[in-house]
Amino acid sequence: MDTFNKEEFHPKIIEALLKAEDGLTIEDSLENEMILNMGPQHPATHGVLRLVLRLDGETIVACVPELGYLHRGYEKMAENMSYIEFIPHTDRLDYIAPMCNNVAYCLAVEKLAGITAPPRAQYIRMMVAELSRIASHLVAMGSLAMDVGALTVFLWTLREREKILDIWDLICGARFTNSFVRIGGVANDAYPEVIEKVKWFIGQFDENLDECERLLNTNRIFIQRLEGIGTISKELALDIGMTGPNLRATGVEFDLRRNSPYLFYNEIDFKIPTYTEGDCLARYFIRIDECRESAKIVKQVVDKMPQGEIRLNQPKKVLPEKREIYTKMEELIHDFMIIDSGINPPEGEIYSAVENPKGELGFYLVSKGDGQPWRCKIRSPSFNNLQAIPHLVKGYMISDVVAIVGSIDPIMGEADK
């Protein structure tokens, strides 16, 4: 067997573990403490997250998460490619809800360039973003249930998600990581077959979600494993930078679709579910409620969708349609100029954020007037949500760590960028 001689724990991690504030009184504590590594490859850590735990028996005294195992260098790559070329990279940030990230990035670039997409494109963006939210919450609930032992629910939620992936396959050709949204509009129109399929999906979604809920909501083992575990208070949650369903489960009613609306969310009627307990069970219930609200939103969007074009007619900033590029001269030249030298937004910097299923995804873009961004900073929700883990696991057992990480629902693709 080969020797594994790369050092296990860097001395700085051990120092951080030992320095962590104690403030814990453990009854019947042992003489020695143990350092345990829940390594990057672990079935329950939702990706490549490394947790180094300091234990007294089975009780956790301190925890230091280590990130960086999926750091792919997005921000450096964004400085070397044009705005349009970066769209497929944004898909792979939160890879369970890819359309939401596309929408976030395209809204940021449009704000920088000073253009707005036409209304039909905005409604289509809302529809696919809410379907992404449903898909993401289904996976989150399924994997949380699987982590605490209920294996059937995972397969049922994945079956529902497959129906959403079929809709995306129909609208743009790819199951996921679609890169469907473009600067100035969307790539394809939502044909009548797509609308029919979306209506069929929403029609049968509520009963199937009820079926999954019936297995879990009154199950004594599930409730005991999640109730009262990983509690966080309102003030600490806001201070530690949590956003999204994790923050709403502690009682703060903060949703960017209401607080600073984008697209056409101010014309749609929907509730923002909030719970006050702040434990793992509240985070689970809030995701179910958000799925139902998203289904309501999709229904209203599909009914209200206006007719019109799907891409803005501004040749210096928006790619023209393929049919026109192949047949007309001006569109060919504009296409060439945009792909070659970029869209050249005016000099300045903006920050634009949307409400992703995991929290607030923000892009800070700096432009110096040429086709490539000078700086593109991604504010990812999972990065800030993970910062709460050392506060959440203190005093609980090792098996609770699995439930806590599952209820926070991190995605390492965006936490590590």
């Binding site: 700085k12 600490l236 806001l238 930078g241 910097e349 954020a353 607030e360």
Partner: protein, 163 residues
Amino acid sequence: MAITKDEIINSLTEVKPNILFETNEHRDELTIIINKKDILELCKFLKEDIELEFKLLEDIAGVDWARRKNRFSVIYHLFSLRHNFRISVKTDVDECDCSIDSISSVFKVANWQEREVYDMFGISFKNHPDLRRMYMPEEFEYYPLRKEFPLMGIPGSNPIPKK
């Protein structure tokens, strides 16, 4: 309850006259530019003032301008839930004195965000409780997001195992 940009600027000039600042507006967003020695005081004021209540620190970003004087900038984005208003605070950091005060005593979220800026740019934060690298391994000697670092990396700085 909405608040306007003028009200924020007025309350800043009234309550903290010792902080010199400039403002910049682009696409309906307000940016306040200050000197780096005032950052801790300003952030404390913005968070704890009863009228303003900028309680959510959304992001801390670093920028490398690649110019001789004041090479780096650090930008803080704050959001007020009460007024649904977003504000950005911008400070310049010189390459010779590459350090700035840490605001992790005011906002707990600044802990990891400042570590990320340190990892990517090399700007160190004074009085930070645990300043170590975030993404790159500890033995890595360079700062990736500086403009002189090549995209494909420096050969030999980040080894992979042999076959």
